[in-house]
């Protein structure tokens, strides 16, 4: 092979053909096996469910604006918060992160053409819409009203049809999740481009590896619990019903064996995304790559042995409480390593405070609050007071909204140009951030105090002494509801008519930015090449980077010509 620059044909190659062929819109409604199409399908579908879950949350907060149960009423209130939580967990955060970002980014980041099992991938996605439909139908019948935890015996006596639909919905969503887990595990271990070792992967891939391990081990146990619950509900067995010799606490153990790791399934991918976004916009290498990668694995391992900290007041024996308290507290160490490494990544950088970065830094600031309240919850004597109160509601929203959702928004702003080929509007992105940040804190900060002062969670009617803080919180919720509008309009408008992004609008170094925006069907023109490490900011001169870019361009043109000549 001759030197590329000498190839006479290249000079004549028309520049216009370098624009990637636009994905026809109808492809997003088909059984596509392209991981990028599937990723976007996941993101759009789950965002729709996010809006539904958000509407339910707004209804819940409207009910709680006054102490009396005068908006939804008692029964509908319980249905509303149950379905709100279920949607947000099983139809928004988990599928958006794993199915959406995981699918879109992992193959690109490791230089693969697609996932290991593209058809399985499509099957997993197409389980999501029926999951959602089952759940929404349950809302229209007799809504499941036992909370997303669905503890028996309450779940056995409150609306049989709704409860069974809820179970079926989760079983379907869980199956989808397991199939995705198989796919990611195999893809990350087996499909990396030649020459890329595990230690060369972007940190997002490490996070996805840990996430898929958790999914594979924990989700089946939830399925087991729900199958047994189904038998109790429909066939009259008594696995969890004390009147027939069963034990409701066994359900709690099985449920939390999944649902605590589920928390990490919902946050580890975000940790990964933040580890991608911060270095790009701070123009610095990620601080302590290895520590962040291994701490994901540590969290994965510890996450599997802490479930009973949700059951400190369930009559759990003392040795169990002590063991789970210590294990839970230990998670603070790897989590702390990540947070401090991110701070060190920002320190001394040249920070671009665009929408992606604002949400990324917003994530760090909010997640820290959720982490600190988590420490309080991990201590048995402290948890005994705050368990099942609004303090827990505050904590979980700081982790799952301030954490996961802020992270998802950061990811959307960051990778939107890659996914659509167009830039989002910066001004409206910042408006979105400010509204979300302010609304979020007004909504959830007062809940800490509410819980500590004595307000239990999951109540439609409460002691009038809590009226003021609840009113403030509801105002925050409405701001939060409104805050999605600028994002929605911005995203739709930019997708259609935003300015062209080019391959690499952020001057980022990981592999997905070396191909076009959006990438072609097989992701790369020719074969992907590792020109730099994913975080080599500040390590190469501008000349070197320009030279790399020129090389990429040449290779791309060469492969296009190869493709053309093989056609004719």
């Amino acid at each position: 092979m001759t030197q590329l620059q000498d190839n006479p044909n290249l000079a004549a190659a028309p520049k216009a053909s370098m624009d990637p062929p636009a994905e026809p819109w109808w492809r997003f409604f088909t059984f596509s096996t392209d991981h990028k199409v599937i990723g976007i399908q996941y993101l759009v579908t789950t965002f729709f469910f996010y809006l539904v879950g958000g509407a339910l949350a707004t209804a819940v907060r409207a009910e709680l604006a006054t102490p009396e149960a005068d908006f939804l009423g008692f029964e509908r209130y319980n249905g509303a918060f149950t379905v709100h939580a279920t949607i947000m967990i099983f139809l928004w955060i988990v599928p958006a992160l794993v199915g959406g970002f995981g699918n879109y980014l992992v193959p690109l980041m490791i230089g693969a053409r697609d996932m290991a099992f593209p058809k399985l991938n499509a099957v997993a996605f197409w389980m999501i819409p029926p999951t959602g439909i089952l759940l929404l139908v349950s809302l229209l019948t007799e809504a499941p009203a036992a909370g997303w935890t669905s503890y028996p015996p309450l779940s056995l006596i409150s609306g049989q049809l709704g409860e069974e639909l809820w179970i079926l919905s989760i079983l379907l969503g869980g199956t989808s999740s397991i199939l995705a887990g198989v796919n990611f595990f195999v893809t990350i271990l087996k499909m990396r481009m030649p020459g890329m070792k595990l230690g060369d992967m972007p940190l997002f891939c490490w996070a996805m590896l840990a996430t898929s391990v958790l999914t594979l081990i924990a989700t089946p146990v939830l399925a087991g619990a729900l199958i047994l619950l189904s038998f109790d509900l429909l066939a009259g067995t008594a696995f969890f019903n004390p009147s027939g010799g069963g034990d409701p606490v066994v359900y709690q153990h099985m449920f939390w064996f999944y649902s605590h790791p589920a928390v990490y399934i919902m946050i580890l991918p975000v940790f990964g995304m933040i580890s991608e976004i911060l270095p790009v916009h701070a123009r610095k290498p990620i601080f302590a790559y290895k520590a962040i990668a291994y701490s994901s694995l540590a969290i994965c391992f510890l996450g599997l042995i802490v479930w009973a900290h949700h059951m400190f007041t369930s009559g759990t024996p003392d040795w169990m409480r002590v063991f789970f308290m210590i294990a839970t507290m230990a998670i603070a160490v790897p989590t702390g390593i990540k947070v401090f490494s991110w701070l060190a990544t920002l320190w001394g950088g040249k920070i671009r405070l665009n929408s992606a970065m604002l949400f990324g830094m917003g994530f760090v600031s909010m997640f820290v609050i959720g982490g600190l309240s988590g420490i309080i919850l991990s201590s048995v004597p402290l948890d005994v007071h705050v368990h099942d109160t609004y303090f827990v509601v505050a904590h979980l929203h700081y982790v799952l909204f301030g954490g996961s959702v802020f992270g998802i928004y950061a990811g959307l702003y960051h990778w939107f140009p890659k996914m659509t080929g167009r830039m989002m509007n910066e001004f409206w992105g910042r408006v979105h951030f400010v509204l979300t940040f302010v609304g979020f804190n007004i909504c959830f900060l007062p809940m800490h105090k509410l819980g500590l002062m004595g307000m239990p969670r999951r109540v439609a009617q409460y002691d009038p002494q809590f009226a003021d803080l609840n009113w403030i919180s509801s105002v925050g919720a409405f701001i939060l509801a409104i805050s999605t509008l600028p994002f929605l309009v911005n995203a739709i408008y930019s997708w259609v008519a935003g300015p062209k992004a080019g391959d690499n609008p952020w001057q980022a170094l990981s592999l997905e930015w070396t191909t076009t925006s959006p990438p072609p069907h097989q992701n790369f023109y020719g074969d992907p090449i590792l020109l730099t490490g994913p975080y080599d900011y500040g390590l190469h001169s501008k000349e070197t980077l320009d030279y790399f870019a020129a090389q990429l361009q040449t290779l791309r043109e060469l492969s296009l010509m190869e493709a053309e000549s093989s056609h004719s």
Binding site: F117, P220, V221, A223, I529, F548
Partner: protein, 203 residues
């Protein structure tokens, strides 16, 4: 890979990668193994729930549970365990391009699986307790039934491989993923049964 590559190594990388790309390595067997790990976790969860019930109860099985006969389930167990050895003969056969051998061993395994299921159904119909008799009865039916479903699925899987093997050249020494996957799945079902048998009948 931290650091940069010189232009010439860059081109080498390009051609090497091209060669690897052409081969399309098959990860499906690995995928099946990973999936079976998830399946195993499902059964593990159910087993641990069963153990919890049996260990926290003062008397297990609860008083009044009729005695279970061991002969038929014992024979059934032997059949299922031996079927694992039978299906294991299929792999060397297909690796030697012996499709007839493959068919023979798979048909034999399918037959043994069918006998196991029939025995299971016979046992169900002759048991003196029903699904809701007591907690032990419920766990018994759900665990064995859930396992039975897996046996049935494995049986269908084996029959599907048999059907496909009728097409000449469908399976060969190089391409026989279906054979391997069916065998792995069958071994898995077998191992689950051994644990189940020990838990439900022997302990």
């Amino acid at each position: 890979m931290q650091g940069s590559l010189a232009p010439d190594t860059l081109m080498v990388g390009h051609t090497q990668a091209h060669a690897a790309h052409a081969e399309h390595p098959d990860h499906r067997v690995f995928g099946v193994l990973v999936f079976l790990v998830a399946e195993a976790c499902l059964f593990l969860g159910l087993f641990i729930a069963y153990l919890t019930y049996s260990l926290t109860a003062p008397v297990w099985p609860p008083e009044g549970t009729p005695e279970r006969e061991l002969l038929l389930p014992g024979i059934n167990t032997l059949i299922l365990i031996s079927s694992s050895f039978v299906i294991h003969r299929a792999e060397p056969a297909i690796k030697a391009n012996d499709v007839k051998g493959l068919r023979l061993w798979f048909a034999l395994t399918a037959l043994m699986g069918a006998i196991f299921l029939a025995g299971q159904i016979y046992e169900y119909s002759n048991l003196e307790f029903g699904l809701t008799t007591n907690l032990f009865a419920s766990t018994f039916y759900v665990l064995t039934g859930f396992h039975g479903l897996h046996v049935a699925a494995g049986l269908l899987f084996i029959l599907a491989v048999l059907w496909r093997s009728l097409k000449p050249g469908h399976y060969s020494a190089q391409h026989h993923f279906g054979v391997e996957a069916a065998e792995l799945y069958w071994h898995f079902v077998d191992v689950v049964w051994i644990v189940l048998f020990i838990l439900l009948y022997l302990l």
